[in-house]
């Protein structure tokens, strides 16, 4: 896992795609991110990152079925791969590991 490095935006989008599970496509992802963090992403940026993640094999994609929305155009739906899941786990593990090591003492302002 050492080889994979995730950028901040990449991680965010990967997480969003994972959390949306079967409904992860461009617009849904930026909506989700907006809802959760208040950050407004441009759709083209999301597309670029999604394609990059797919190249890194952290996501796979397939074309969804045609619906009446979007003028009948299909969506590209993204799902987390095993590698993608591992990458998230890894980065979460690193974070919580580091987080837990912060001595409580340091922030013990009250005493």
């Amino acid at each position: 896992m050492r080889g994979i490095h995730l950028g901040e935006l990449e991680e965010l989008i990967l997480l969003a795609a994972g959390s949306l599970y079967d409904e992860a496509y461009g617009v849904a992802i930026i909506e989700e991110i907006k809802k959760q963090t208040g950050r407004e992403l441009n759709i083209s940026a999301a597309h670029a990152v999604l394609r990059r993640l797919e190249e890194k094999e952290l996501l796979t994609s397939r074309m969804g079925g045609a619906t009446n929305q979007r003028g009948g155009r299909r969506k590209r739906l993204f799902t987390l791969t095993m590698l993608g899941k591992k990458a998230i786990d890894e980065s979460m593990a690193v974070r919580s590991e580091l987080y837990n090591r912060i001595p409580k003492l340091t922030y013990n302002f009250s005493s």
Partner: protein, 864 residues
């Protein structure tokens, strides 16, 4: 929903640029966003955001490309394969390929050489950083209705401009003079330039030692690299003292204040000695200088951002100033020419100070290079088309196996461009090692394998490759790719020489060849005539020296007069062969430009000028003062029936014509013969002493003269010239032109032969079976030759019939602009060129024809 569509053009733009692979998802997303925004924020906002999104998607990764990644890899592999095939094909047909490559290489080499030749001329003087602000001032003088442009301008003009005009930063003049320069034991007669001290600052001549301010000290001079070597062997030249004796006998000592570096290759203002102009005034060649005195050149440096028009407004003032000084020459108008253009215009400027070339000369080189290039390309096309005949089956197979037409075109294009590339390399080597140095040695210009702008040179090389490659490669590639596999495999593909287009190509190639050959042979003939032309006098056995002091002429004359081998001693103010000075005479109210010089009684016999009417001059005082002898041209121009005893005014003295001599060449033969006046002269005014002797006695007389010289004026250099050598520069030039023109005709001939050889060898190969059958049926060798040559002979004849007259016409036009009175053109060059062409062609085709005659029917016909 119809009112809630996003802007159409943005949608169309998206569809246009977007990679089809991603279009659906991207379009879907932007539409969905649009719909969402439509509800939340209204139509205008949604539209704006939609457009924004579309533009944000306009990224490299989303843009449609002609080929996907996968296809590109494939293409690359194919190209590699094409290259390999190309190399193999060259190896398989070494003869045809080397003919092809070599022919092209010669033409490319010449094109490169001509490129450098033209490049240097268009970039003369462009190394000066202030060149866009530097102008040289010229003036128009009208004489006999003939408006001519002169480099000589009033001496006082420069300071006047500097004082009057605030738009001018500085002005500098050049005033030439002769001086005898001495350093210890080294004494030479040198050509020096007086100039304003600011001259070295206006221009950017590279300086080796010292600095640009050197000339501000009156006793300091700047010398060229050559001179520093000549006088001091370049050892510590700064501060060394040179002494100079000027034409009026004054002597000055100067300290070397600056040494300039070697002349740059595109330097057109090459002077060896620069002396501060204050010395010129001090030397008092004249007591007083007014606006009637002309200096050799005046340069102006404008202030930054100023326009030359500020100068033009003052022309009127300067004209009236000049007219007020009552000169012989009346300036009609001034003209300021940018330094960038001076060199290009010098050819029709009188007294131009730099090297120049008539544009006709330059253009004829360009035309010749294009002609040869064209011939080489046609040659290439022909051989490429016919050469492909051996590969018909390969083409057929490729097509059957699914090769698209496009791919076959690509394949042959790659092969042809590869050959062109090799030709470019060989041609560059030819140019570098052969043509440029060769050309440099015969033109009076510092030609190097070097262009002013390396970028332009690279562009030129690439263009050359593309042009030649595409021009000569496209047609064969398209032609070959058109074949139908079925006809190929059936074996009845009509092809090659049967093809009218191919014949046309050969015809055109031969046409160009004949044009070039006849043109250069006629030109050679013209130039050769100069070497045999009558000079108008007999230079044989005559030598002359330049007189440097008072009384020197009489003393030398007396010292030599008793010498048994001396047949005559004459004196003159200017020497025939060293361009004669221009003067103006008054005849009633006409002013006529003439050449005039003075000569003593014996001078006529020494040079053996030819008397046509009247008598030569004598040394009687009356003759010395008022009598003149004129040349035939003068009589013709005046339209005198009886010239003897006619009078006119020269130098405000009334002169009487006592004799007429036949026209003689006093300057290189390119310039027309002007009217010439020879007036009587007093012994003190004589500048040249000429001695006539027997040819075999020249060296004894020479040493005798030298001994006398050293006795009389030991301090002056003994400068002796042989009259026979006076036109050496011209003849050298002429020989150079002859060489170039012979070279071009040889190249044209070689290219034509290569083309013919290539086509014929193919055609005979193809018809071997036919010849075999003919032989079986009893054909004689003569009949076979007839059949083999039938197709080509009429093309050759037609090409000659068209090319030869055109070539003649071209040369005729050129000679008429270059030479004032060209020689009569005879039929000889035509016959000669036809003869040469026939002989070389015969040799070229002989081997092939032998093959046709010697064909063994049994072995040829066995296979079917």
């Amino acid at each position: 929903m119809s009112n809630s569509r996003p802007p159409k053009w943005a949608d169309r733009f998206l569809r246009w640029y977007c990679n089809p692979k991603y279009l659906e998802e991207i379009q879907g997303d932007v539409y969905e966003l649009f719909d969402m925004r439509l509800e939340e924020k209204g139509k205008a906002m949604a539209n704006r955001k939609f457009i924004w999104d579309v533009f944000r998607f306009f990224r490299w990764s989303n843009i449609k490309r002609s080929s996907s990644k996968h296809q590109k890899m494939n293409q690359f592999g194919l190209f590699q394969n094409y290259l390999k095939l190309g190399v193999r094909n060259i190896n398989r047909n070494p003869v045809t390929s080397s003919i092809n490559i070599f022919g092209l290489a010669i033409a490319i080499g010449i094109a490169i050489t001509v490129y450098f030749f033209v490049d240097i001329q268009f970039n003369m003087n462009r190394f000066h950083s202030k060149r866009d602000r530097i102008y040289q001032i010229f003036n128009h003088v009208e004489q006999e209705g003939d408006n001519s442009l002169w480099s000589d301008t009033p001496l006082l003009l420069g300071p006047r401009i500097a004082a009057d005009l605030s738009s001018v930063e500085a002005t500098a003049r050049l005033e030439y003079a002769n001086a005898i320069v001495r350093f210890e034991e080294e004494v030479f007669d040198e050509w020096i330039a007086f100039t304003d001290p600011v001259y070295l600052e206006i221009f950017d001549f590279p300086i080796l030692y010292g600095n640009k301010q050197a000339l501000y000290k009156k006793d300091q001079i700047a010398i060229s690299h050559d001179m520093a070597v000549k006088y001091f062997d370049l050892e510590d030249p700064l501060g060394k003292e040179l002494s100079m004796v000027f034409s009026n006998g004054e002597k000055r000592r100067f300290e070397v204040g600056a040494v300039m570096d070697k002349f740059l290759y595109n330097d057109n203002l090459r002077h060896h000695f620069y002396i501060p102009i204050d010395n010129f005034y001090d030397l008092k060649f004249q007591d007083h200088y007014n606006w009637s005195y002309f200096t050799d050149a005046t340069f102006v440096l404008l202030n930054e951002g100023q326009d030359i028009e500020t100068l033009q407004r003052s022309y009127e003032d300067w004209i009236s100033l000049q007219h007020g000084s009552n000169p012989e020459w009346l300036i009609k108008d001034y003209e300021s020419i940018s330094l960038n253009e001076v060199a290009l215009r010098s050819y029709n400027i009188h007294g131009a100070i730099g090297w120049d070339l008539h544009p006709t000369g330059r253009n004829s080189f360009i035309i010749m290079a294009c002609l040869l290039m064209g011939m080489a390309c046609f040659n290439f096309m022909n051989i490429a088309v016919t050469g492909a005949a051996k590969r018909l089956k390969e083409i057929g197979l490729r097509k059957v196996m699914g090769g698209a037409k496009r791919q076959i075109i690509d394949q042959f294009l790659v092969e042809n461009v590869l050959q062109c590339f090799l030709a470019l390399i060989v041609g560059t080597f030819l140019a570098y090692f052969l043509f440029v140095p060769g050309f440099d040695s015969i033109v009076p210009i510092d030609l190097q394998f070097r262009a002013f702008s390396p970028l332009n040179m690279v562009v030129f090389f690439i263009l050359l490759l593309l042009l030649v490659g595409l021009l000569s490669g496209t047609y064969p590639a398209f032609y070959i790719s058109r074949f139908d596999p079925v006809t190929i495999f059936k074996g009845n593909q009509k092809f090659g020489a049967g093809n009218a287009f191919s014949k046309m190509l050969l015809g055109f190639q031969l046409f160009l060849a004949f044009l070039a050959i006849v043109a250069s042979i006629v030109l050679t003939d013209q130039l050769y005539h100069f070497t045999t032309r009558d000079w108008g006098y007999n230079p044989s056995g005559t030598l002359f020296v330049k007189i440097t002091g008072d009384q020197q002429y009489e003393k030398l004359r007396n010292a030599l007069l008793d010498h048994p081998n001396v047949e005559g001693i004459g004196g003159s103010t200017a020497q025939i062969g060293n361009s004669l000075p221009m003067k103006s005479i008054d005849y009633f109210d006409r002013k006529i430009a003439v050449r005039a010089f003075g000569a003593s009684e014996d001078y006529f016999n020494v040079l053996m000028l030819r008397l046509k009417k009247g008598r030569f001059l004598t040394d009687q005082p009356i003759d010395q003062e008022t009598a003149v002898v004129v040349n035939q041209k003068f009589v013709d121009q005046m339209e005198w029936k009886e010239p003897i005893n006619k009078t006119f005014t020269l130098d405000s003295v009334r002169r009487t014509v006592v004799g007429v001599v036949g026209d003689f060449h006093y300057d290189q033969f390119f310039s027309p013969i002007d009217p010439v006046i020879i007036h009587g002269v007093d012994g003190r005014a004589i500048n040249y002493l000429s001695v006539k002797t027997q040819l075999e006695e020249l060296s004894t007389v020479d040493s005798q003269l030298k001994k006398a010289w050293i006795d009389i004026t030991p301090n002056d250099p003994y400068q002796r010239f042989f009259q026979e050598d006076v036109f050496d520069d011209f003849f050298e030039n002429n020989t150079a032109n002859i060489k170039i023109s012979i070279f071009i005709s040889c190249v044209a001939l070689i290219l034509a032969c290569l083309g013919l050889y290539g086509l014929l060898s193919f055609n005979i190969q193809k018809k071997l079976k036919e010849f075999g059958i003919r032989k079986v049926l009893g054909a004689t060798p003569r009949a076979i030759i007839k059949v083999a040559g039938k197709q080509y002979s009429w093309i050759v004849l037609l090409a000659f019939a068209l090319g030869a007259p055109l070539g003649f016409f071209v040369v005729d036009t050129i000679t008429k602009t270059l030479f004032p009175d060209p020689n009569e053109v005879s039929v000889v060059p035509f016959v000669f060129s036809f003869f040469i062409i026939v002989v070389t062609f015969t040799i070229t085709v002989l081997g092939q024809v032998r093959k046709a005659i010697r064909v063994n029917p049994a072995s040829i016909l066995r296979s079917e």
